[in-house]
Assembly symmetry: C3
Homo-oligomer: 266 residues x 3
């Protein structure tokens, strides 16, 4: 069966970095299929990349997941992490673990220390080309993860601090998880959080932004909203999102990914 | 032979939606080749997507053409449309029919109602991941279109109102079809329209924009224009286009895709 | 073994031009893998494209390298250039030769005159779709380069004038080669140039921008810089680059790709 390598990075699409990594992989693993997930994660934003990777891996086949957002390439060796039949390859900076979590949790990890699977010489500033890409390609070729370097306890892997909603009685303080290209505002709030706060029941929810307070209906889909009408849906990843009928909700409410909102009273 | 799935959407390249659909397809149809056509169709712009898809399909091999611009995911089931040996998959909102037309016309259509070929559960807001992508992958695997759901008469499929030139005597009123990344201004006018209006003969054509009137020479290629000189070519899709020698014609004339121009007298 | 076609262009990602070329190739060479290098080279910028292609080809497998930046499609036939086991396909305008140089030098070239390998009719304005893409696909299928048209001496191929540093005694005047998406400022200066100018030895280097003069430390990696601190690294392509710790150096120094800097005294 055709091996699959999914690929996520902050290399962007205006430089040749993404293409260079694809070319390196094609040279080592010509029969692998590269599935580009996204390459325009904001530069050096490990948290956003971790979020996006975790959104993607549950629907992908068991495969090699290559992820490169590497603001500190001198910090230590990269890793391969085993989770749910897949292998996650990238820097040990917190990027990989949320994806491992949604795949059932990391069951083993290995440091990328065996130079047989790296390009030579290794650049100090572009490990995607010289380390992560080549290792991913060799893994797709069937090299076992135990061959890439020494095992490291999964509890020793770097983990980002959580970005969670603060759920109280009839109020939730929620960082925004992402504003997408349609202007949908994805919150770090799940349906269960709303129930926990006593704010559920299908009734409209009061939403406080940094600039205003609005009362928004709960709807099942964009199709339930009039043109331009704001509402709250459960999005396709299970998060609550503020959306608008055929319009840009973030623009309407002047919200950005770095903002937070308050749901409920006060 | 390797099955091909072409893929067009408005999912953009800054979120993971496009990558998620690719990953879903790779899981179901690992031997298919995904040919990305374009994913930056302006958000929810079904008309622009229909135009771009119709430009692409004539040069593609007979294949599965997946197209997703889905502003109203609750409106009804998606469809697969047979045309010229290819299968077009997407929402029934007018996106697919112009492409079917250039492939020789739709000969059959089926509603995507059989849940065997969908992901489960189906999100109410991301049918690309849960319905259109999976169905396209199963079709590439050889599932016959008759298996995806009940037949629907092709005359019952949604069709967008035309965006045509208004051709009169020695005058044409023409909406702009697209302004491309070079600043070429593609008009909804063909050579035959010019002849019909009595404006042909290789002589310069008077062009009225919302802001000015200019007289532009007919040329065969960019190479026939001096640096910065404006002219009219027949473009590679058979449409007339206002272009400039090594320069951005839309910028020079302050034209955008939503504008229209007048050709000829008055 | 799966044939590889790498693909670089200025077609952008907002129009369907890139996708159309991919579809044409998939029709002719369904078993080839297309490796997208970059498609957002600034419109008509042959020099920038040549630079990026030369950065990519050394790490790619021996393959067909398709490159299309074609401001003057009427200027003459395109070419295929043999170099280091690879075949470079594109216009004869200087785009291909820097890449051929890094592959060991062009050893033969052929004009794309045999119409058997072109689409018919050939548009005067989109040779990527009608000539370069189809020829690349046929070469990937095993058509020998001698079959595409008559040989042309490699010394007769168009070559861009150099964009080199001016190295003097204790001073270097250096055009900027590229500012990347992280804000790293890549100079047309190699470590050897610094030694030749007598500016080496690991000591800080004085850098004069159009707006200010700063003294920057030499470091091995981003990891050796404090947050926001500016420094000079040897980048992963062997060029010196002005970078900042976790920050955008070009923004800090107000530098763009069209600028030049002075290193050393004066």
């Amino acid at each position: 069966m055709t091996p699959v390598i999914t690929f996520l990075s902050d290399f962007g699409l205006t430089d040749s970095y993404t293409g260079i990594c694809r070319a390196v992989i094609a040279g080592i693993a010509p029969d692998a299929t590269i599935v580009d997930l996204v390459h325009t994660v904001p530069a050096l934003d490990v948290r956003r990349g971790a979020t996006m990777l975790a959104d993607c891996v549950p629907v992908a086949p068991a495969s090699v997941h290559l992820a490169v957002i590497d603001p500190d390439p001198g910090a230590g060796p990269g890793v391969v992490v085993e989770a749910g039949g897949s292998l996650l390859v990238g820097p040990d900076n917190g990027l990989l673990l949320p994806a491992a979590d949604v795949l059932g949790g990391a069951t083993a990890a290995y440091q990328l220390r065996d130079l047989r699977w790296h390009r030579s010489p290794v650049s100090r500033v572009f490990r995607g080309r010289d380390v992560f890409g080549p290792v991913a390609a060799h893994l797709a070729n069937g090299v076992p993860p135990t061959a890439v370097g020494p095992a490291v306890p999964v509890d020793d892997l770097a983990r980002l601090p959580g970005l969670d909603a603060d759920v109280g009685h009839r109020r939730i303080a929620a960082p925004i998880r992402n504003v997408d290209c349609y202007g949908n505002v994805q919150l770090t709030v799940r349906q269960a959080d709303l129930q926990r706060a006593g704010l559920d029941g299908g009734r409209p929810v009061r939403v406080g932004t940094p600039r205003e307070t609005v009362e928004l209906p709960r709807v099942a889909s964009f199709s339930d909203l009039a043109a331009g009408e704001l509402g709250i849906v459960e999005d396709s990843f299970g998060w609550l999102a503020i959306v608008a009928g055929g319009a840009d909700a973030a623009d309407r409410l002047d919200l950005r990914t770095v903002d937070a909102v308050r749901l409920g009273d006060d």
